[in-house]
């Protein structure tokens, strides 16, 4: 029995009706089309009366298929399907013919627009004729969240979720949580000490009973789908038992390897081989750096188990824990699998610390040319100089510091094309911190533009200029060279149209914020998309700013793009609220527009030939290999299977399949051919 189809043509005010003769489109939809039993036009189909019209006509006319010729399905497909559902129709018998974005907005000419609209409506009518009823897919939800990264974004997100009563697992790859914010001296625009506002949050996280913390750990793999992820975590060998260790500090005090460059201090200070990265570290328990530890070095050289090496066992000897010592040289990486409902990625950024491509700034050769984050450590009370501004080469108090903005940022030739967003503000802050500590010092800043858009931000940088007396020079630096113990900086000031030559004691480069080195690999592990700069992509830049391209995975903080602390915290809160919405349901409903690989009776089982081209093209990692087994357990053939929880219905697999074994629900071959064949070519 053929369907009774209703066609509703929307004027969209004049958006459609100005270039499309809607009455004619409605009339033509009925002609030579016995299936179409009702047609009408309406000013705004998406309005309440418009939806009522749709509902009423479905009932009155006994329609079992509907075509709404209106705007893009991205706008109102949901609206009209819901309306149809209310009228008792399976919503997947409603199709949208896009007359606005794909016709009226792009064609200036009414006859042509009308002709095309008639074709578009006929295509959808043919498709609707072959629509099948579909039902939402229900997936259960594991009520536990995973937060990857323990910087301010991760900490905020984890606390928000845990405070709402859900379990959170936090994975941090460094020995302590805290991230970059723990490294900062003071924060703009209030100049409050970063650690003073950061550490209470770190402690809160450590004490929260809903949060399980894995430091010195990394994500090995993520399988599963929204609501049901299986996450494998690699707990890297710490060589210290976290349960036994009390963090008494005896071990790192006796460690003989004292000259290892501290990563936390951006290589301006030293640490030992067994160490905690900074005094307020959480957990406040050390880790052995196996690359630099004498014992491990020796064991590697002699190719013996570390426990057999006798070179240096000072930390073990001094460890007061009895009877079993907290230090364990034989510890190995451990793998843990956790069931997770939703994931927040908060893996942060990396400062552009390699400036070797900038020969003009010394190419990384000059000790007294440092980066922004290095200056933070110099200015920080917990830093290598205890907050005194000393230049790295000789510890001298710099009388003149030159700051260079946009190093790496806004430089498509050598660095990145984007603006790192925070450098204008942190450079202004640096000039202030410097002037507060060296009152008669001179701070000169080379800049291209000042971008201080934010609450109290403009006032902040003007304060640096007007009250603290920083001198801003609009232009870039062409060269830095050594002259005695000075660094001569050559640059320009375009406001006077002149060249500038400054004999400085120290130069600070406002380095760009870049994606983590392994961001690309990590994104592939999670099957989330990323942009050309390897920052993870949100699914919609305006309306879905924290959702990644994979359902159930959300983004927070600088892994998504450069941002400052307030913005990071806000985004982390947003991501947490999205996770909470997911975890609040026992079951999730998903769109049934998913792909399916056919299954047939024995002896064929499936027409799938197991080439797995589909697996290669699937952007969501939704295709799995499935063994079809005989009763004795032997594998008859391996075929593809679509994980309905992961599939986003993009159809790439269906288009790629060579044996036509994949069908996308709501878009099967029959429907697509019906659409194509309905177009009259002349």
């Amino acid at each position: 029995m053929s369907k009774k189809i209703g066609v509703f043509v929307c004027h969209c005010g004049t958006n459609i009706s100005a270039t499309v003769d809607v009455e004619k489109v409605a009339e033509e939809a009925k002609k030579n089309n016995p299936g179409v039993s009702y047609t009408t036009t309406y000013k705004y189909m998406c309005s309440d009366p418009g939806q009522k019209l749709l509902r009423d006509k479905i009932k009155e006319e006994g329609l079992d298929g509907v075509v709404v010729a209106a705007c893009s399905p991205k706008m109102h497909e949901h609206t009209f399907r819901n309306a149809a559902k209310k009228a008792g129709m399976n919503p997947y018998h409603v199709e949208i013919s896009n007359l606005r974005e794909q016709c009226s907005w792009v064609h200036p000419d009414k006859p042509t627009g009308t002709e095309k609209s008639i074709d578009l409506v006929r295509m959808m009518t043919e498709k609707t004729r072959k629509d099948k009823s579909l039902n939402p897919i229900k997936v259960p939800v594991t009520k536990r969240a995973l937060v990857i990264g323990g910087g301010i974004a991760g900490i905020q997100a984890a606390l928000d979720i845990a405070d709402a009563g859900h379990e959170v697992i936090m994975v941090e790859r460094e020995a302590s949580i805290g991230g970059h914010m723990a490294q900062l001296s003071e924060t703009f625009p209030t100049l409050d000490c970063s650690q003073c506002i950061m550490t209470p949050k770190m402690v809160e996280l450590a004490q929260n009973e809903n949060i399980k913390l894995y430091t010195w750990s990394e994500i090995e793999s993520v399988d599963g789908y929204l609501g049901n992820f299986d996450v494998k975590i690699r707990k890297k060998a710490r060589s210290v038992d976290l349960d036994l260790c009390t963090g008494c500090s005896s071990c790192w005090q006796v460690c003989p390897s004292k000259k290892i460059k501290s990563e936390f201090d951006m290589k301006l200070g030293n640490r030992t081989a067994i160490y905690i990265p900074f005094p307020q570290a959480i957990p406040s328990k050390p880790v052995i750096d196996r690359e630099h530890c004498l014992l491990f070095k020796d064991a590697r050289k002699k190719n013996i188990p570390p426990n057999d090496s006798k070179v240096c066992r000072k930390c073990l000897d001094v460890c007061p824990i009895a009877p079993v010592k907290a230090i364990d040289y034989s510890q190995e990486d451990e793998f843990i699998t956790e069931k997770i409902g939703a994931i927040i990625v908060a893996t942060g950024f990396k400062e552009l610390d390699d400036t070797s491509m900038y020969g003009e700034y010394g190419g990384g050769k000059y000790q007294d040319v440092i980066t922004g984050l290095q200056f933070e450590r110099l200015a920080s009370a917990s830093g290598p100089t205890e907050g005194e501004i000393q230049r790295p080469s000789d510890g001298k108090l710099p009388e003149i510091i030159v700051f260079i903005q946009c190093v790496g940022s806004r430089d498509p030739a050598k660095g990145c094309s984007y603006c790192s967003k925070t450098c204008c503000m942190y450079t202004a802050k640096h000039t202030m911190l410097y002037k507060h500590k060296v009152h008669d010092g001179h701070a000169y800043v080379f800049y291209i533009d000042i971008r201080c858009a934010g609450k109290d931000y403009e006032e902040f940088w003007l304060r640096a200029v007007e009250e603290e007396g920083a001198t801003y020079l609009r232009g870039r630096v062409s060269r830095i060279y050594k002259k005695g113990d000075k660094l001569v900086v050559l640059g320009a000031d375009t406001l006077t149209g002149s060249v500038v030559e400054i004999e400085a004691d120290m130069v600070v480069l406002a380095s760009a914020m870049k994606a983590q080195d392994d961001a690309e690999k990590f994104a592939q592990k999670l099957s989330i998309q990323y942009n050309k700069d390897k920052f993870f992509s949100e699914i919609h830049p305006k309306l879905k700013p924290v959702e990644s391209s994979s359902a159930g995975i959300f983004l927070a903080g600088t892994c998504q793009g450069p941002k400052d602390i307030p913005e990071t915290v806000a985004q982390a809160g947003a991501a947490a609220s999205k996770v909470l919405a997911l975890l609040s349901a026992d079951e999730l409903e998903r769109e049934p527009v998913v792909a399916k690989v056919d299954r047939l009776p024995a002896p064929i089982f499936s027409t799938c030939i197991g080439c797995f081209y589909c697996k290669r093209v699937c952007p969501y990692g939704a295709i799995a290999e499935e063994d079809i087994k005989a009763r004795d357990g032997s594998v008859i053939k391996t075929v593809a299977r679509v994980n309905e929880g992961l599939c986003q219905g993009c159809g790439l697999c269906a288009a790629t399949c060579r044996s036509k074994s994949v069908e996308l629900a709501g878009f099967n071959d029959e429907q697509v051919y019906a659409e194509i064949n309905s177009v009259e070519f002349n």
Binding site: T471, T496, V500, E501, E503
Partner: protein, 184 residues
């Protein structure tokens, strides 16, 4: 003129000195160019008004004090009125003129301008208002090089009654005199 800025200029106290003399804090200027945009004589200037402020900001004393700009400024105060940061630019020009004269580095065009000012004031002092003819003749007598400048428009002005040979004194000449005495 090529300008080079070095540590010496940047560290100099020029801006501080200007502030002490006039109360004008040039650090407040963020170089938006609103002053230049509205300046009615900017087209004749060697440096734009905002550039003059920039010179003071960066300690470029010579460039600021020897510029023509500070002498061309007609003190119409459009710049000061419009400045979003409330920098008194016209008043700054005044201070720079003073400093240029004190240091004897004023631009050569300054001589014409100060002479013109003197002739203007002398005329006001004498008649309580200006007598165009006598003011100009004083100016051209003192600056002979300008004697023939614009001379061709003289007869036209005379025909239109704009350049009267007989000065017209005002009634309150005594009050004017008192003003001059006050500011001797």
């Amino acid at each position: 003129m090529k300008i080079k800025i070095t540590t010496k200029e940047l560290k100099s106290d020029f801006a501080k000195e200007v502030k002490e003399r006039s109360g004008i804090d040039v650090k407040k200027c963020y170089q938006c160019g609103k002053c230049t945009a509205g300046c009615p004589v900017a087209y004749e200037m060697d440096y734009m008004p905002n550039q003059i402020i920039r010179f003071v900001q960066l300690g470029l004393r010579r460039e600021a004090l020897t510029s023509r700009t500070i002498w061309l400024c007609a003190s119409c105060i459009t710049c000061s009125t419009r400045c979003p940061k409330e920098v008194k630019i016209a008043e700054l020009m005044d201070v720079l003129r003073e400093m240029a004269l004190e240091e004897g580095v004023a631009n050569p065009m300054e001589k014409n301008i100060t002479t013109f000012h003197e002739a203007f004031l002398n005329s006001v002092k004498k008649h309580g208002r200006i007598s165009e003819f006598w003011m100009l003749s004083e100016y051209k007598r003192k600056r002979p090089k300008t004697a023939l400048q614009d001379i061709e428009i003289g007869p036209q002005l005379m025909l239109k009654g704009k350049l009267s040979l007989t000065p017209h004194d005002i009634k309150g000449k005594k009050s004017i005199k008192r003003i001059f005495e006050k500011f001797k």
